[in-house]
């Protein structure tokens, strides 16, 4: 069974924003100190959490460590979960914060990142934002190469821009879900998506044009 489906990981697809019954029961038991219930939640969400974190850090070992840190933080703060959002949204938020904090500690801010405050009138539609990386023009790229190029390109984004790209383009979350996870406005999410996509457009143009 493929439990990893970027499309299917869309939060609460077709469901209300409230906690799923199964998750609610498990969370209640966790709050009473039942670690077996938490074990069940970990099993349920470990793949999605790992993939989300990997999407941002582009490194398996780091993603492993950060995803575990995220789950441990979730266990320690499970008593603070009030059920106002789904458990996965809450967990996703913890994972995102842990990952962003880690990236910031490593001094990763994004190369020649767009300043979100720059008025779009100053940005030409076809302008380059960074010098183009070594490209493989007019060559059919191997899948491995494509993935590496995507990893490298995402690696050039700031932590906040990586987060919105991963959540929107890979996990197919709605703007409102992303805003809830990142605890910012929908407008901020859309603005970050704009600049992140603009940057990736320049970095990956030779890749998607040669597919």
């Amino acid at each position: 069974m493929n439990e990893i489906d970027g499309r299917a990981s869309k939060l609460q697809a077709g469901q209300s924003d409230s906690v799923e019954p199964d998750d609610r029961v498990l969370v209640t038991r966790c709050q009473a100190g039942d670690s077996d219930a938490f074990n069940e939640l970990v099993v349920r969400y470990r793949n999605k959490a790992f993939m989300m974190v990997y999407g941002m850090v582009q490194n398996e070992q780091d993603a492993w460590d950060l995803a575990q840190d995220g789950f441990l933080k979730a266990w320690k703060s499970i008593h603070r979960f009030k059920g106002e959002s789904s458990f996965y949204t809450w967990l996703y938020r913890i994972m995102t914060n842990v990952t962003i904090d880690s990236l910031r500690r490593k001094g990763i801010h994004g190369e020649t990142e767009f300043d979100d405050r720059i008025a779009p009138a100053n940005v030409e539609p076809a302008s380059r934002t960074t010098p183009s990386s070594d490209a493989l023009p007019y060559e059919k790229l191997e899948l491995r190469d494509i993935r590496q190029r995507i990893n490298d390109a995402i690696g050039k984004l700031s932590p906040e821009h990586r987060a919105v790209i991963v959540m929107k383009e890979m996990d197919d979350l709605q703007y409102s879900e992303i805003a809830e996870i990142l605890e910012c406005s929908i407008g901020t999410v859309m603005s970050r998506l704009f600049y992140a996509r603009k940057k990736l457009q320049v970095l990956l143009r030779d890749v998607y044009e040669n597919l």
Binding site: S35, R46, Q68, S191, R197
Partner: protein, 163 residues
């Protein structure tokens, strides 16, 4: 009113319609020409899901649960070692204070006139020259105190033993 970035993102994601859509494409023809590029980028990102699956998921889970277990053991050990937790310390302090007060009152010098009558006599003696209506003399030989009241039908309230 939406900013340009919000409009562009919504337009790219197909979230603009009707007049908003027409207005955006009319006002930003150069960006409209880039739409194909952005859609190719989106397709590349979505269809080239390069993220690996979690390897050894059970080991991943067991490491987390082991860490939780170790944290709990450490917490319980701390609780056992520190028998005197905050509540117990507070009760112990209260008991010590109570014992201290009890000992203090048990060993403080007692007033030799602890008998109400003795206290009364002492008061009278103190006032023997102040109040002309009440006179008290002490006869050491007979070991008695003579209280002489003059012109009183009854003792003043403050000297009334039964008041």
């Amino acid at each position: 009113m939406k900013t340009f970035e919000e409009q562009f993102t919504a337009w790219l994601d197909g979230a603009l319609d009707g007049e908003e859509l027409r207005s955006f494409e009319r006002e930003h023809p150069l960006w409209s020409q880039q739409k194909g590029d952005f859609l190719k980028l989106q397709s590349l990102l979505r269809n080239s899901d390069h993220r690996p699956h979690l390897a050894n998921p059970d080991f991943f889970t067991s490491q987390i649960m082991d860490q939780i277990g170790r944290t709990r053991v450490a917490k319980n050990r701390f609780r056992r070692r520190s028998w005197f937790g905050l509540p117990r310390l507070a009760w112990a302090g209260l008991c010590v204070l109570s014992v201290g007060f009890a000992l203090f009152f048990a060993f403080i010098p007692r007033n030799e006139y602890s008998d109400p009558r003795a206290t009364y006599v002492a008061d009278v003696l103190k006032t023997k020259t102040a109040d002309p209506k009440i006179k008290a003399t002490v006869d050491n030989q007979k070991d008695m105190t003579i209280i002489k009241l003059e012109g009183l039908d009854k003792l003043p309230p403050r000297q009334d033993l039964h008041h």
